[in-house]
Every structure is written in C-alpha cells, then in structure tokens.
Symmetry: C2
Subunit: 217 residues, 2 copies
Amino acid sequence: MKPVPNDVVERQLAWRYATKKFDPAKPVAPDDWRTLERSLVLAPSSFGLQPWKFFVVTDGAMKARLRAASWNQSQVVDASHVVVFALKTGLGPADVERWIARIGQVRGTPPAALEGYKKMMVGFLAQPTERFDVDDWAARQLYIALGQFMAAAAMLGVDTCPMEGLDPVAYDEILNLGGSGYRTVVVCVAGHRAADDATASWPKVRYETRDVVAHLG
Amino acid sequence: MKPVPNDVVERQLAWRYATKKFDPAKPVAPDDWRTLERSLVLAPSSFGLQPWKFFVVTDGAMKARLRAASWNQSQVVDASHVVVFALKTGLGPADVERWIARIGQVRGTPPAALEGYKKMMVGFLAQPTERFDVDDWAARQLYIALGQFMAAAAMLGVDTCPMEGLDPVAYDEILNLGGSGYRTVVVCVAGHRAADDATASWPKVRYETRDVVAHLG
C-alpha cells in the first residue's frame, strides 16, 4: 500500500551527505539520470510558474572551467553531472502569459477561465512593497527544486553535493547565459562517492529534534 | 541493491500535487509524521547551519486562527499538520559558535581543528556586499527543507500543500514568535486528499523538459 516504507525514506535521507570526493569512474547511470531530470521537471513552484532552467554539464573541459569558478572544489570535475540552477530574471506579465498558455495547452482550459488567476499572478509579481524582489522570490523557488532533487537522488542511492560557494557571474559567462534571461543561483553535482571519501563515515551532525521542531497546540 | 526503484520515485513525484482539499478525517499517521519530522531535521543547509525552526500546529483552534491569516484557505484547517517554516533572523557569530560546539559534541572534533571553518562562516555571514542579505540567504535554505519535506511526503503517499499566500506578520503573532529570533517564511500543510478533490485528477502541468533542462557539453 505505502509506496516507500518509512525506514527506507529515513535511512536514505540519513545516508545522504554533501559528498566531498566523487569517484570519476562511477557516473550516474542513464536511468537514474532520467529520473533525476524528471524530479527537476516535476519540482513544485509558487503558482506553478517554474521560474527556472536547469543547465546540465557533463563535458570534462567545461567542468574544469566551472571548477575554477567554484573555489576549485574537485566535486565539480569528479561528479558526472553538474546541474546549474538558474533563475529567470525579472519574471513578469510575459511569463504569466506563457504559463497560462501552457495550462490551456495541457488541460484544455479556455483562457477566459484563467483570467482571474492571470491577473492575480501579474499583480503578485509586480507588487511594489519594499520587501519584495521578484528575483529573490524566484531564487527561493529554485531551492525547492534543489531540495527535491537531492531527496530523489538519495532515494536512488545517488550522491550529491549542493554548492553555493561559486562565482555566479563567472558561471554565467562560462555557460554563455548573457542575454538569455537566466542567471546562475546555486549548483548541485551528482555522481557516486569515492570509496576513500573519509567524510562519508563521519557522524551526521544536526541539532537535536527538540531544538528545531516545536509543537504548538 | 537500489533503495527505491526509479519508477516508484517518478510515479510518486508525479502523484504529488498542491492538494486543494484535504480530508479532515484522514490525519497523517503517527509513523508517517515521525518520518516527515526526520526529513525536516535531516534537511541539508549551507555549511550545515540549519538557520531554521519548524513550528508544527495540529490544534483546531490555532489552525482556525492561522487560516484567517492565510487568505482563508481551507487546507490550513483540514490538513492534520501545519508546518510553519521559520528562519533564524540575523544569523551571526553566536550561531556559528553554537554550530561549532554541536559538531564538537557529535564528532568529538576539538574546537581548534574547526577554527578555520569557523572564521570562514563568520566572514561569509558578515559579508558587506550590497547583494547579500543574511535573512534572504537563510530564507533560501528553508526552501531546501520544504523541497525535501514534500518529496519525502510523496514517497510515503502523504499529501502536502505548500503556501506562500499568507501574512507572515500575523503568523508570527499567532505563534507568539516576537522576541524568539524566528520569523515565518513559508508554510506547508500535510494530510490526505479528500476523495472529492477534483483538482487531484487534473493533468499535471509543467513546461516541456526541453524548455527547462538544457544540456551543455
């Protein structure tokens, strides 16, 4: 009845760690990569707007250039897949139109029936409050996709390492994103841990449950 | 060998949707809730700093108050568990000290061996660049936890609905977070879909894979 047993979910999330050393001889298997790509495509986002694009790099020469823009971290070249999570900048009415059109295409919903939804989204994205920056908001959505990607990888027994320690401007140059409307936010590499990655056996450190989960009523 | 088969991961991520109507008579089972709580505790974060706290509300009266602060969305009262993802505001040196102490406690690492790591984190959090706001950065980390939470729930066959459509200041008041150092960022409710939630059978809408995933080398 239950799709995945509780102990498997818990065990795999505990098995996951930010892999420090990948085995270059163990790439992500093609069927696993297909599933991980599905996890990106299916990632939830606010209003369903998917304010993102995922750039996947597997080529050694390009990975070497990205490594130089990533504090020289070896994971970028040793992991088989580098995923650059890029946000769509300046999300606005044209993006909402595209989304409404896509909903109509998949569900057959007439545009008139989505008019209120459309206006609500356009209004949200254009809100003038001082605390709201549309790119910051889009960036947050990317971290949902990142979380789902890492959790899905853990279920498959695929190792990952998320990375914020990088130069996003250099990434944008290497990926030739200038003028594309997308810019680099965060990166996650995927592959399989090296047998001699000592950090794999380090006890996982988290705060006590009582310090991060509070039950109120 | 593989912890979870590929087709199960893909099927469950496709099964997941932002549930519009929960069945109040079907709460999340206690063992599933324990697993979901583990998924929150185990969520990855930058440097491992866990700049968060998860407030869980199951009480009907408090859920009713939260509903009023959530555009009156019925999910907040019909789902059995409301999880408020709150960030630790103004993360700084004291938080880094606490984290270093926790690593030492779990792994037995002497503080001196973590001195460089500590200085790096303190420097990162205090970076004066105009683009960096420590609370915005912490907020992004919360979305990793959100993504992992929803993916874990999907594996268990538990329904969720993420919600940004809420008044975070009102939430903070209802949860009595004033002076706690935490503030509401985003919410996710968990439960089981009502048999008559028509949206459950709507085709899932995502952009074409070729429009969101680009292979570069």
